[in-house]
Amino acid sequence: MKKIKVLAIVGLCVACFLSFTSNTIADTGVNKKVILVGGSLDLTGPAAFMGQGVKRGINLYFNKVNAEGGIHGRKLKYIAEDDGYVVAKTVSNYKKLTLKSRVFCLLGSTGSVGPKALKPYLEEDKIPLVGPYGYTSAMFRPFHTYLFNIYATCEDQAKIFVDYLKTELKLENPVIGLLAEDNEIGQDTIRGAEAQVKKVGWQAPVVELYKRSAIDFSSQVLRLKAKNVDALFFPVISSHSAQILKECQKANFQPLLFATATATDLRFLKMAGDSAYFGKGLRSFATQINHRDNSSGAEEFRAAIAKYDPSNKDPNSFNLFGYGIAKILCEGLQQAGADLTREKLISALEKMDGYETGIFAPMTYGPNNRQGTDSVRILRADHNKKDFVIETGWLHPE
């Protein structure tokens, strides 16, 4: 009787201990042969298609670099942990990556709350995180040494939205509508639009918010229609964007429509169907290039896909995002020299000035600048081509 109890307890302890065994690599995740890069991505949660896409893109670029000889002779290895869009899991993944896998630095993240929760940890451990996948100004405001932002934030995008309406489309005091998810991204958008609208002296924007679990956007769209909105900006995920477009079509609501970078894929256009070309048409604020056009970056990306990930028949914008952030990190690692430390990586990234990835707008970091870029370009959904065509170059908020 007692023996069994003791045995059971011992068994449980052994099982616990087994889970604690760790294989130690070099303390900073770098040795002569390999650089370990980690990331906590949403690989199974509600936004899993983003996490999966980003991971695939990162691995694609790393495979390419490794096949071309690595960085100063070192091969790159990416370790992705799944957080299922739960902040607690993001933090424990961070602990796992830094304490168990011993990664050199972090690349990529999902959501905006995750990297925010990681900020104090990054500060303590002095580990840089490149390319958080959240378009909020909280990533670099207040200034944070270890977070290297890639994208123009939604605040910038909203400002560019207002500028574009004023300068290019020559609208005079239009009613601006914002339809966003009730999270940090939504708040960022509202902040940006309100600030810029005040600057140009237009009326305050009409704001509608919804919850992530929402399945019906009809009431938001009908309310926007009742307020006679002339231009609508919705920085939301692609499937929600498609739903909003369909609602607009159904309600016969024809404002100027502006989506965000997640809505630049062919799959998105397929989901939206005719509603993407309804009314005055759809434009998207693209933070990266369209990988189907004929710019050099797009060609490079397509060549890499064909060579190193031929099973990926339908590359998407998340693959491209992962590819791009991996490229920026690799540029930093290359400039940091053969004797690699985290401090050297940070100072190498800080020296980056207008680095052309061919994928994002030129990247600039500095001792007091972690924003990367604030520019987006506008793509327009073209009915004849059934694809997005480039409308403008890289625009900056004024």
Binding site: G45, S219, A226
Partner: protein
């Protein structure tokens, strides 16, 4: 605007009602909430998608393909995981259904990846009836839901199997004693719920697209089943429509602070006045 809102609400409510119907059928027979109902729905709409893209069936054929697959899936899940748990307290069974949900979700993700897919058999521009516009999806959703409800009421009132199912829900021991094959009936109920789930999944797919997480609509439809006092089929329909309409109307007219929680406040109110839902009939309780 209010008429548009009402029509959107009714269409949304019909989807809720179809999902809730799946909950209600299973609850009525086995007193278990099937948390995997949303995932069965998701899986069946993927099957319909696979039917129309991989096997190149036309839509009608892949629709029936998915419905039959839904029936078989429901019956299979019952046979594998729920039957061994007959006679146990409900909570382990409920958790088992959550396990089923996780498995279905990950199997779907393994086969079809996480990217949203499009299944839109009712595409086309919205119909304009007088001053109101209604999209084909919504129109078909409302029509199919009402046809299904009608068929169900016929089924439960007039068919032998339906009467047997009602007998089981009424008095388990008594129906066992009178020779009704209770286990086979349970199996059949799960199959039926799976088939309903397939219909609901295919109807909701054009609206929210198909992705492995679309099953979360199941959780949103639960209040519909509760409002109509779990276990009542007309209750599920009324509950679903009340929920859908209250959601859209609240979205139109209430300030944003309470519009998202309005259906829940409504639910609280109903439960406070009638703790067992609107359609509750007196049930004897053994002490």
């Amino acid at each position: 605007m209010i008429i548009d809102g009402l029509i959107n609400g009714i269409a949304l409510g019909c989807i809720y009602a179809l999902v809730a119907l799946g909950f209600v059928l299973i609850y009525k027979a086995t007193h278990v909430i099937n948390f995997a109902q949303g995932e069965i729905m998701m899986f069946c709409s993927y099957i319909c998608y696979a039917g129309s893209t991989t096997f190149h069936f036309n839509f009608i054929l892949s629709f029936f393909f998915a419905v039959i697959a839904g029936f078989l899936l429901g019956a299979l899940l019952e046979r594998l995981f729920i039957r061994p748990l007959i006679g146990y307290p409900i909570l382990p069974v409920v958790i088992a259904t959550i396990g089923i949900a996780m498995v279905l979700q990950s199997v779907a993700a393994l086969i079809w990846t996480f990217e949203p897919q499009k299944l839109d058999p009712f595409s086309g521009s919205p119909y304009q009836l007088w001053k109101v516009s209604i999209s084909p999806v919504h129109l078909w959703t409302i029509i199919i839901t009402f046809i299904l409800i009608f068929l169900f009421s016929l089924f439960f009132r007039h068919s032998l199997v339906g009467i047997k199912l009602r007998a089981i829900a009424e008095d388990l021991i008594g129906s066992m004693a009178s020779g009704i094959p209770v286990r086979r009936m349970y199996n059949f109920t799960w199959g039926l719920a799976g088939a309903i789930g397939a219909v609901a999944g295919i109807l909701v797919a054009p609206v929210i697209f198909i992705h492995p997480h679309m099953g979360s609509i199941g959780l949103r439809a639960l209040p519909a089943a509760v409002l109509g006092s779990f276990g009542s089929i007309p209750g599920a329909v009324v509950g679903g429509i009340v929920l859908g309409v209250s959601e859209t109307i609240a979205g139109l007219y209430l300030p944003k602070e309470i519009k998202d929680v309005f259906p829940w406040l409504l639910l609280f109110l109903v439960l406070l006045i009638r703790p067992e839902g609107i359609f509750y009939t007196y049930e004897q309780k053994k002490v």
